[in-house]
Symmetry: C2
Subunit: 408 residues, 2 copies
């Protein structure tokens, strides 16, 4: 894409009421726009990042047999009354229909997916299965000061799995855990993200959070210095031994919860009477798990972890473009390179604007695309283009014929 | 995908309260599930159709320079007060925040996109540009009896274009019109879809709807028998001459509005003071156009146009899969074909279920995938597989070596 055509512009300052670093950088670089507290528009650059994240997650969810669906935001009150959460969930948005019928704006989808499953499954032969969606959630958050980390409206991947037995759930839960590790690894968060043991509620000993260590975190976790898993506050208060390796050597850290997986067991199957006939013809209540990742939160966490004083530093797999091609008064030559890169399916943002070198470099650092390729009189005299990675200081002059080789 | 793994099943009957044919077929075949009147879940097969439609539209919107963004559903009341539509729009859902602050659930996005543009554009050099999104709309519809054609919650593509002059808008409007024709052609609606002249409101003589003729239509249009454009009721009451060719020979038809394009001119730029400096340094109010397509409505319209007594008949470009591979007791041989088709990137639903031939054929007809490929003892004796197109009666035995050639 040509930067001269991009309708967004970089900004020197973020809105004064925006205190979080992730939102400040994302707003200044033109990735997101803040409509009100906790509610953001995804602009072209930000939406490209979100789509990259979505595709990474989709691939992994399909890999563990997830079937993609899309459930609505408008939920009948009845469904939420059945589980008792109409009255107990504080952050539930409620809205009235023309006939004064009450509905909820879905903050999660157990109340919809369980009755849906009820329509289609009868026998143990219908199990196991898992469905997932990328869908807009609504939560009436009181504290929306963490930029895109905690939205009142936000896109979430939520997967729900259905099983005949706890053993089958446990097996699936492990495969989901591994899929989550791969997602965070691809998103460039592997080193800082810890599997974190949290309370499992009344049905299982533990649930698991994936917590990414950063000073912007709203959560406190305790990282086992021996085996690298972590526990949350509640768990460390109960026991100061690591549930994995029995060590007591913990390091306290601030962290962001980038994902969670939870054994629901029969918590939602019971109220909706979701059951099947087993092999002996006996009625069995279905066992469930649920597995969430907030996409905007993941984007914001990547920014918190990967930035410097000049701006963001996107890991390649989630970068809006792979290459930021910058022309310094050499648009004709740059156009040719732009065409060549596009022909080879290399995603490129081409800064063809009539701006100073200083402005172009500052914008490139702020936007944070992995490879900066500069075409200038100087680079051409030296026989090529100047290539610099956003996360490295050194640059090198590369002959045109080797550029594609380097970037492929 | 293996049909034995698909968690949905076909159903003999649709819900009794579902009077529209499109929703009856989509529900019976397991494409959508009805949560309540006008609110549907997209199931795996339906979501695949929606994604196909989305990609067709995206390609065309990118082709006319649209930049994809994603705006929120929660809108501040203030934005809707500025345009006066907080009080005048009957189908606006209103919701309250924890601090009793009022918000709207977006039924359309002029109130959001214009202030957004205001943040980034100053000069005539920033124009023209266009942004679009695929986004969930909310409208408090009183009559939700048309299945997926008229939702209270539905995904819409809405594009907004911004111009320095009416001439520039007119030029862009024409290119959008052509893009719309291509979209409806790809979706298999070309022959039945008419450019329809409607009232343009106070700012331009006409707006345009794209109306698809079908007995399920809620609108009445008048198709010019000479030049094939149409006019709506309002226009024919004013003049009974065709605005294109002056003919007075009209045929009355029922039709579904599958898209509309509208010259907004300065209707929304004025209240938000969206203006730029022109070449002479004079302030000019920005001229706008808007362009909508409802994705679920388009899916429902395709069903209304392309079905028979046995079920749906998907045009290839929007079909959930290209091939429905059916094994009649020959799963081992069918598995090989399934693997071969997948290896060649041919989208295939593989009916590997333990069901009768009659049930499998009936389901295939209901689901309506373009090519049915049957592997049976009979077909193998005849030297291959039996291939039948959903929209043709005849079938043929094709040798395995020619199957890929036929389907590619």
């Amino acid at each position: 894409m040509k930067q001269s055509k991009l309708f967004t512009k970089t900004q020197k300052d973020a809105p004064k009421d925006e205190v979080s670093l992730n939102a400040q950088l994302l707003i200044r670089a033109g990735f997101v726009d803040k409509l009100m507290a906790g509610v953001y528009t995804m602009l072209p650059l930000g939406l490209r990042v979100m789509k990259k994240i979505e595709n990474i997650i989709r691939e992994e969810m399909n890999g563990i047999g997830g079937q993609e669906i899309l459930m609505p935001s408008l939920h009948p009150k009845e469904n939420w009354t059945i589980t008792g959460r109409w009255d107990t969930m504080d952050d539930l948005y409620k809205v009235k229909d023309s006939s004064d019928r009450e509905m909820a704006l879905g903050p999660t989808h157990e109340e919809i997916v369980v009755p849906l499953a009820h329509k289609f499954i009868n026998s143990y032969k219908d199990l196991p299965f898992a469905v997932y969606q990328f869908q807009n959630k609504f939560r009436m958050e009181l504290r929306s000061k963490s930029g895109v980390l905690r939205g009142r409206e936000f896109i979430m991947k939520d997967l729900y799995s259905f099983h005949i037995s706890e053993e089958d759930l446990n097996k699936y839960y492990e495969s989901a855990k591994q899929a989550y590790f791969r997602i965070f690894e691809k998103a460039g968060l592997k080193d800082k993200t810890h599997l974190t043991f949290a309370s499992g509620g009344s049905f299982s000993k533990y649930s698991h959070e994936f917590q990414t260590v950063t000073s912007a975190g709203e959560d406190i976790i305790y990282v086992c210095q021996k085996c690298n898993i972590a526990v949350n506050k509640e768990i460390i208060d109960e026991t100061n031994k690591c549930p994995e390796c029995d060590s007591s050597d913990f390091q306290e850290e601030k962290a962001i919860e980038v994902g969670n997986i939870f054994k629901l067991n029969t918590k939602f199957s019971v109220p909706f009477d979701l059951s099947v006939m087993d092999e002996k013809g006996e009625k069995k209540t279905v066992i469930m798990g649920c597995y969430g990742i907030g996409l905007g939160r993941l984007m914001g966490t990547v920014v918190e972890v990967h930035h410097d004083a000049k701006g963001m530093i996107w890991p390649e797999a989630v970068a809006p473009f792979k290459v930021h091609l910058i022309s310094l008064g050499k648009n004709e030559e740059a156009e040719k390179i732009y065409a060549e890169l596009q022909k080879n399916n290399i995603e490129v943002l081409f800064d063809d604007r009539d701006e100073s070198a200083g402005k172009k470099f500052a914008d490139a650092d702020l936007i944070g695309i992995p490879y900066r390729v500069v075409v200038s009189g100087k680079s051409m005299q030296a026989g090529g283009v100047e290539v610099k990675k956003r996360n490295e200081e050194k640059s090198e002059i590369i002959e045109m014929t080797y550029l594609l080789q380097k970037l492929k």
